[in-house]
Symmetry: D2
């Protein structure tokens, strides 16, 4: 597929002190398909201007609000105007800019979780469905090539009928009351008004849930949650564990924590079927371990010649040149860009390119949060997970 122009992107959020904004910028630029051309980086016009300057943008395209950005960009000639809006604000500022961007005719990349609550997600879903623009939700971890390899191997029946899924997302960074120590990340992520009513489970529990469903190809049918606030004075959950059953009655265990003191960020998934098992962890993200009964385990590696197309379309370097988190993120952007190009040319994108997370992932994530919180306060063991789209 020959492409003739780079896609232009405008960013909402990602100003001074943002973590994920810088990630989105690097990830989107890495493959040379997307260039950052505009931004409303902060609700403070001065901070937005400052970010624009640091990013060396044309000052005329650095805006004080996303409303201004949408309006003024639309006034530009189509060849100059941004194609994509990337939204990296706290969760309470997801719904409105996404809705407006789509309605104004921009493609949207939105950081997860989809919205502040399930109701917003449902409403946004309708808008996305009725839009002719593309929508992407950055559940980063499904961008790792070896996660894609796992998904494909499961789908191909390599490990047989799934019996068991373990997924864990342990962190320790909120091991103390960091939100009282002038830490911007800690502040908004522990504030129910900006982050949503689930803390740890909104931030990383949803990633673990998304990953489990993505790799297994199965939907979770019921859950049993036990959440905690481990640090006195904190307002929302910072730790928890969930028993799960999938639609085929496979068992699952999902744990997530922000208070496993000293732990970094080692997302891990293990999945076992009646023929074998697969194991992956972010700390060794370029390996996928396959377990077999009465045969040596195998180490599938990124960048090798024996992987599935789904993995191969998401790698840049030969085996042994480690790719990481940023490349996983970049894979989402690259696939999104490839689909935009295909759309523009009226072509059907490769199935591997369409494999980026979207509205359904977002709605399921928001429903997951609601059901986890309900289960957590329920005296009953099981809470069915019923999600309407």
């Amino acid at each position: 597929m020959t492409i003739h122009k780079k896609l232009k992107m405008g960013m909402v959020g990602g100003g001074p002190g943002s973590f994920i904004g810088a990630i989105h910028r690097s990830a989107s630029q890495m493959d040379g398909l997307i260039e950052l051309c505009a931004g409303a980086f902060s609700s403070s016009p001065e901070k937005s201007r400052q970010s624009g300057e640091e990013l060396m943008l044309d000052p005329s395209r650095v805006y004080s609000s996303y409303d201004e950005m949408f309006e003024k960009e639309l006034a530009l000639p189509e060849s100059e105007r941004i194609d994509i809006v990337s939204i990296v604000t706290p969760n309470n500022v997801h719904f409105d800019p996404t809705k407006k961007a789509l309605e104004k005719g921009f493609h949207v990349v939105l950081d997860k979780p989809m919205t502040l609550n399930y109701e917003e997600a449902m409403e946004l879903h309708q808008i996305i469905k009725s839009s002719d623009k593309l929508f992407c939700l950055t559940h980063t971890y499904t961008g790792y090539p070896m996660i894609k390899q796992a998904k494909q191997m499961v789908a191909d029946g390599a490990i047989g009928e799934i019996r068991k899924v373990y997924v864990e997302y342990p962190q320790g960074w909120l091991w103390k009351l960091l939100e009282h120590e002038d830490n911007k990340q800690a502040e908004w992520r522990t504030d129910p008004l900006r982050n949503g009513k689930a803390g740890c489970f909104g931030d990383i529990g949803t990633h673990a849930f998304n990953l489990a469903e993505y790799v297994s190809g199965l939907k979770v049918a019921k859950i049993c949650a036990d959440l905690s606030i481990k640090i006195p004075g904190r307002m929302i959950d910072d730790d928890g564990a969930i028993l799960m059953r999938f639609e085929n009655d496979a068992s699952g265990i999902l744990t997530a924590s922000q208070v496993d003191t000293g732990v970094e960020n080692n997302l891990k998934i293990r999945i076992y079927g009646d023929k074998g098992g697969l194991e992956w962890q972010q700390e060794d993200c370029n390996s996928l371990i396959a377990r077999w009964p009465n045969q040596p385990s195998q180490i599938f590696r990124a960048g090798t010649g024996y992987l599935t197309a789904l993995a191969n379309e998401n790698i840049r370097t030969p085996a042994g040149h480690p790719e990481g988190y940023m490349e996983a993120f970049a894979n989402i952007y690259r696939n999104f860009a490839r689909c935009i190009y295909a759309l523009e040319k009226g072509e059907e994108p490769k199935p591997e390119w369409k494999d980026f997370p979207g509205a359904e992932d977002g709605i399921r994530g928001m429903a997951f949060i609601d059901h986890v919180l309900a289960s957590n306060v329920s005296e009953m063991k099981w809470t069915p997970l019923v999600v309407k789209y």
Copy 2:
């Protein structure tokens, strides 16, 4: 402490096809404190005789039943008679030989779980308490030096107040209906009459539970269990997960499986407090990882000069000469033997020597099984774990 005679041991069970009998024999002999002198290795006299011959025992001390062994050994002069009875039979033959051995005046080492059910365990506990002989239950994993290091570091407050315990015991060997394929181990371990009513959770779930309480120094207060029989045709659980809360409200997650296809036996525990965390897994049993906020993680290693006395008393080789499962098992036997010597000499054993599992571990294990099964069929989330001694 100078010792003047080896302890003599008689074995109950451990005949042809036994796995754990051979382990007990090697572990007890490794340190030269105990010698195997007698045995009733099978309920089949011929098989018992055959085992005795293979083990090169004096044929006159190879018996057709443990009753016969106890009677005839007692008839021997005290200096020749066995001191210790090691019981390695299936679970339904734990109570009776233990009871009789203690009542006849022998020290007893019993393979876990303690008995076939909680009632037997309670009755046995009374017998143990009223006996002046020593009793040991081989919860192997507490014999690892780095587990002992972890226990001591937790007790010393190194990682602060405990918030979280993850313990998992994944196996895959029963991934298919092996009990229908002429596999003696699979047969009795999946037979509720010989194994007890809990399968996976009787066999290895109890180990994980014991380890969690041992390392944390905390008792589990309530549980929420979800067990499965993943292989159609199997009679008892082969997989499960449990949410737990400890007496201090710390959260716990315990998983155990025999059907994680392709997985070996990688028991793992991770424990986090408000100052740091500790991580250990059997596959790397000579390392203990310590996690700290804003400091590099540390790798504590067996055989080094900086460990606690509790670890140091349970190691044989300098750092880098890997010890393993057999040595962990031997540590239990060695500590047990050291305590017998001290008892015989009227001395107080070192506190480190007394650190071997016994009746309380056994009763808690049997109670755990009962409560797990009750929780599993309960519709309520939480089942209190109340254990009377």
Copy 3:
């Protein structure tokens, strides 16, 4: 430091089938400081045009030769013209474009090794010294943050006086005569005319050598080499090992291979002094293991708060979000760009920014190749490594 414009880059080489060209493009773009604006991607005008189209460049800035590129870019207004030339051709096309680019007034990023031979390197060095433009040689591995951490810890005396350096660069991709199987990479890298007279030692041995000197802060004083051609029919070395002594008489062992069948690319360095040791390997590139006598080993990790400035200036994500090879490469480009900005503004760059490889690394690498080949055919054990600049 506020910056007001992106740096514009033109590429020499990197056309269809190139591996390293794509790496340079991604690495240079990742941080948003550099944009690819022009290129002479192939000696075939048609292939160059095709690459330019795929890269969505303005066709008027896609050239048929680097000579043409230099000339036409110079004719553009200064604000449009490229600032940097990135040279990613086979080794026989390093000297000429670098020389010309510098003489025309462009900054140059050159893929390693510096030139086809030592003489070219010496001549180029003079040109670089007399130029007021900056020159960078992409010895990628010194771009890893944990390598920089190691260098700084060694320089700070953390492990004391250096006694021993192990460095190894094992690959297996040339395990068979791939150069006869229509593999473009294998073809030029095993062709002495395009690659230079050393094969494995030109390609990856020089990386290992550079890394050893970079981390240790010591120069190699003498070497003893044993190279091989393990695959009959190959023209240049594909395997070898070198004994080394450093200027302080520390011992070193350097191994490099392209025929360790099945091995990927696991560059590894270990360095020991009289107080401790440091160990790093590319497969776990975000960790640096520190060894201490009679103390637990420590795991220093990228993205944490306790690293040196030299490491911290070369990281993008918090601990546990793995960065990899591309980010190490991007660190070199980012530091180069930061130095260009400082130069343009007449400011002194931070010392951490100046820490990118340059002419001295290149000359030492070329001298290393010559001396390795001389030692290899010598019957004497030691060959002094004498490098004139």
Copy 4:
């Protein structure tokens, strides 16, 4: 094979402060085939008596010298007399007791290296050849089951014609002048009179050499050595590296050190052929990694059902129950005992049982030491390794 009596063992050396004596005792006893019945544990009669008491031996069989032991044991009835002499003294007391024990009609297990020097080894070889008793030299590392698996896979051609062998034995325990700090181990191992003229290369270099030849099935043909004394005041080498060529011209690199500060004991071997490669390290001793071109690597594991007979005969526990150094040592004793039983019964032992190290390993080890020292002081690169038996 049914066996009717345990083998009786007498020990020479292994008194207070000995490391390896305790290892030999545990290893020999673990499998219940050998019992320690006598000993001359020290050249000090009082220390020998004290060791005998601690080991709970019959005082009448604790001797003041090995001469006394041999004489008095021979005077005992054959059914009571020791069968095996285990010699664990410093290297200067290897030759004489071995010679005498064999000549008196005892089987001998001797700790490595074989003798103090090559001449003694040659003389001892003649004695061994003319004796009808068995001789075993405890090159421990060839007792590991996964090393035996590697040897067999190489012999079976699994990785094809060997091209490359890396073997390394890094330690750090002699990182300072410990021999001046009242450390008995350090004292004799750095004393040329008791240890022999090679330090590090006598102690562990020989192990690495033995392992390389054992696994590869190839003999080393020439070497190029660079040894050091890294700690001023030390009398013999504590560090070194050797380039090697095998008889088929395969390349080898052997490194050994006692001054890699902070390092434990991680012996490691990697071997590559024209079809694949194998990698093993003591820290993960139950795994053998197999590398293949264009296929996932495999992890072969001890205790599984898919290993060769040579590995299976040397394992006690199912997969996932880690065995270690002591079990590797015990494998040597067990195989030795099995061969003695076969000899006594006039049967041919299984080929797997005969796979324990003996005189040829010992002579080659002593020749290796001589040639390494010669090469170290030679100005020529290569020193042929010519060993006469």
